[in-house]
């Protein structure tokens, strides 16, 4: 087992496509980071295989901030240690532990189930919008996404653009010890250990879409970054991973190559 990097920060996105939140220490389940993308908005206009109303249709979605009302309860399953001792999958708390409130760009604070929340989105959508809740994380492809500081630096150098890493909406931002940008591409099908217990397998490259063109602080779009990645990196930046062994992670955790 060799150390190849460090976990720089951990992020989750309580509502798919909305602003994410950085967390200090969090449980990572087989389904992904606890509390990640448990809520999503669906649109009757969207295709059935991807029914979500996202920041692609409404760029300002990234300016909505979602916060769990009981933040601490959403970081770690209550019986995690006991479950680990018995080699069990720690059960999540009941759904009401994930009660959520939304701060809108207009300055309102709304319960996620308040009809006024969906109403605030409707003028940007031709379809009927509905709120979805799931405890199995409404991720696009795989439970975890990783993106490295080195890849961000390389993209900035290649494009001449100053890029906020939050454009890339990763769960794990990582810092490789001695590697260039896009090193994570070489880790596909490799097993990594993060922190004391979490084991993951990098499964595939992350195909990028319009979401990364959206400035996370202003919602202005900059298509050049997506076009650059399409032309120079075959459309991929960052990687997706599957979880092999659940665990707790925190910034500063070592990342080790297991194979």
């Amino acid at each position: 087992m060799s150390k190849i990097g460090t976990l720089e920060s951990v992020w989750r996105y309580p509502v798919k496509s909305m602003r994410g939140e950085q967390v200090d220490e969090v449980f990572v389940a087989y389904t992904g980071v606890m509390g990640d993308r448990l809520y999503a908005i669906s649109s009757s206009q969207a295709p059935p295989e991807f029914p979500w109303h996202t920041n692609r249709e409404q760029e300002e979605f990234v300016l909505y901030t979602a916060s769990y009302k009981n933040h601490q309860a959403t970081l770690k399953p209550p019986a995690m240690e006991a479950a680990f001792k018995e080699a069990l999958n720690p059960p999540y708390p009941l759904a009401d532990a994930f009660a959520l409130e939304i701060n809108t760009p207009a300055g309102a604070t709304l319960d996620v189930e308040d009809p006024a929340f969906l109403a605030s989105l409707r003028d940007k959508s031709a379809g009927e919008l509905r709120l979805h809740f799931t405890q199995k994380n409404a991720v696009d492809c795989r439970p975890l996404s990783l993106f490295s500081r080195q890849t961000l630096v390389q993209l900035e150098q290649e494009t001449g653009l100053e890029l906020n890493k939050r454009r890339f909406r990763a769960n794990f931002y990582v810092d490789w010890d001695a590697a260039d940008g896009f090193y994570e591409n070489e880790l596909v099908n490799q097993r990594l250990k993060v922190g004391d217990r979490l084991e993951i397998m990098v499964r595939e490259l992350d195909p990028r879409c319009k979401s990364i063109t959206i400035d996370p602080d202003t919602a202005a779009t900059q298509p050049q970054i997506l076009k650059h990645i399409a032309r120079k990196h075959n459309g991929f930046a960052g990687v997706y991973a599957a979880v092999l062994t659940e665990g707790i992670v925190k910034p500063g955790d070592e990342i080790c190559l297991l194979d």
């Binding site: 295709p47 940007k124 195909p207 990028r208 997506l226 650059h228 075959n234 459309g235």
Partner: protein, 101 residues
């Protein structure tokens, strides 16, 4: 389609600016703009070719196009003139797109 629009067979080319250079690109009836640019050995950005990633979004500078489908551009994008190369077919003979925008 507007009855004053040329028939598809009358549209023989369109113009595309890529990396600061404007190209006249031969148009084959029934093809989307992206395929015509690739046939001309140009290398515009693209990825999914299904109208949902947005990598080939370009600004329509003039002319009319129709997108077969659009699962990624917002109303704001459309209002700014963005179209998808991989889904667009020209409806007029004066189509110009800016791939650098």
């Amino acid at each position: 389609m507007n009855t004053n629009s040329p028939s598809p067979t009358e549209i023989t080319s369109f113009r595309a600016t890529l990396d600061g250079i404007e190209h006249e690109v031969a148009y084959q009836p029934g093809e989307v703009l992206l395929d015509c640019m690739l046939d001309a050995d140009l290398d515009p950005a693209f990825q999914c070719q299904e109208g949902h990633c947005g990598s080939c979004m370009v600004v329509r500078v003039s002319g009319k196009v129709e997108m077969r489908q659009n699962n990624v551009l917002s109303q704001r994008d459309l209002d700014q003139g963005y179209v998808l190369l991989c889904q667009s077919i020209p409806l007029s003979a004066d189509v110009r797109v800016d791939c650098d925008a």
